[in-house]
């Protein structure tokens, strides 16, 4: 990282000045508030199209880094982009913007669920909501599987199947399962790209 990027103030003369922590907070809070069913599309729209803070290529590069790290992609994006713009204050502002409003909403939802979840009239609504959310997740899983086998079956798919067997069916503790399977997956990817 260069000195310029670490500076808390936007350097003068740059075409698009780096956003301040306050601007980062507002932008990421907007992303969180709009982000029904996926915040990724909204972060691209707000950061790239509306604010013009990053070019589409820069956004994709930054996101690729986030995908390899543990944790939510957008959360990692908020940390890394915030740091790039305004150091630690930028990271904190972006993360608080992204998580603050939805976490507050979750606490309110939790209170309502605790208070009214047992009302008989609502039992059916919650049960069918849960069933629909399961269908949504099944569709996501199916899309990922189809995308990964679109050319042909490869040895990588054994890694996916092993993960599913260990974590989904046998219910191994996930830390142990990943500690065993991740080196296998990464080793295979390395071997394939030698």
């Amino acid at each position: 990282m260069t000195k310029k990027e670490q500076s808390a103030l936007p350097p003068a003369g740059r075409p698009a000045p780096a956003p301040t922590p306050a601007q980062l907070f507002v932008a990421f809070a907007t992303i969180a508030g709009c982000g029904f069913g996926g915040v990724l599309a909204w972060s691209r729209r707000i950061i790239v199209q509306q604010r013009g803070w990053l070019s589409p290529e820069e956004f994709n590069q930054q996101l690729a880094l986030c995908q390899v790290l543990p944790g939510g992609n957008i959360l990692n994006f908020a940390v890394m982009y915030g740091c790039r713009c305004a150091g630690l204050a930028g990271s904190l502002a972006a993360v608080l913007g992204l998580l603050g409003p939805p976490v507050a909403l979750m606490i309110v939802a939790g209170m309502l669920y605790r208070g009214y979840g047992d009302v008989p009239a609502l039992h059916g609504a919650f049960a069918s909501l849960a069933a629909a959310a399961a269908g949504l997740l099944l569709a996501t899983a199916a899309q990922m599987i189809v995308a990964s086998v679109k050319d042909r079956l490869r040895i990588e798919h054994v890694v996916a199947a092993l993960t599913f067997l260990a974590v989904g069916v046998l219910r191994w503790p996930q830390l142990s399962a990943i500690a065993v399977i991740a080196p296998l997956g990464i080793g295979l990817a390395w071997w394939r790209r030698r």
């Binding site: 940390v79 979750m106 669920y113 069918s128 069933a131 629909a132």
Partner: protein, 177 residues
């Protein structure tokens, strides 16, 4: 208060672990959260877990905020805050460190290899989450049909998943389930 501190420590341990194993995002850790909260600690039942997950899906914001709802159900407002902080601090610290090294990291060959190696694991974990939540939400033929219909709508059409969630909640209110 003595009882609560035990729960708080357990929440910290569980979510901090989930934070570092969240390969490909927070949804990947649903199997571990379910195993710990439902099977190991018996803080809530299968059904409640699936309903809380669904509520979080219906709300705006990144998927990771589900842990705040789960934490709230287990230990109130402190539980919600502890869960979300424990879930975020480890992975955010790693991301912050990576951001400091960003230029060395961006085009590194090992990053591409690690990323490619983790993709099939993410696929397996999301499929595991789907299996666990489908089982947990299953209360007979009506819910199975709703799951199937929601799958069809989300898989074969481009409408927002909120449509499936809203339709299902409406059917439930009308007493279908």
């Amino acid at each position: 208060m003595k009882d609560d501190s035990g729960i708080y420590l357990a929440l910290i341990a569980i979510f901090a672990t989930c934070s570092v194993i969240a390969v490909g995002g927070a949804t990947s850790t649903v199997p571990e959260m379910h195993r710990q909260a439902v099977d190991v600690h018996h803080w809530l039942g299968d059904r409640t877990f699936s309903e809380l997950f669904a509520i979080a899906q219906a709300a705006p914001g990144p998927n990771v905020v589900f842990v705040a709802l789960l934490g709230h159900y287990i230990a109130g407002i402190p539980g919600a805050l502890i869960a979300i902080v424990a879930m975020c601090v480890p992975s955010c610290t790693i991301a912050y460190g990576a951001a400091r090294l960003v230029d060395r990291f961006r085009h590194a060959r090992w990053r591409i290899v690690v990323q490619a190696g983790l993709v099939p694991i993410t696929v397996g974990l999301v499929a595991s989450s789907a299996l666990i939540l489908t089982r947990a939400a299953d209360r007979g033929p009506a819910t199975a049909l709703i799951t199937a219909a929601s799958f069809a709508l989300c898989y074969w059409t481009r409408v927002t998943p909120l449509v499936a969630l809203a339709l299902a909640a409406g059917l439930g209110l009308m007493g279908v389930v």
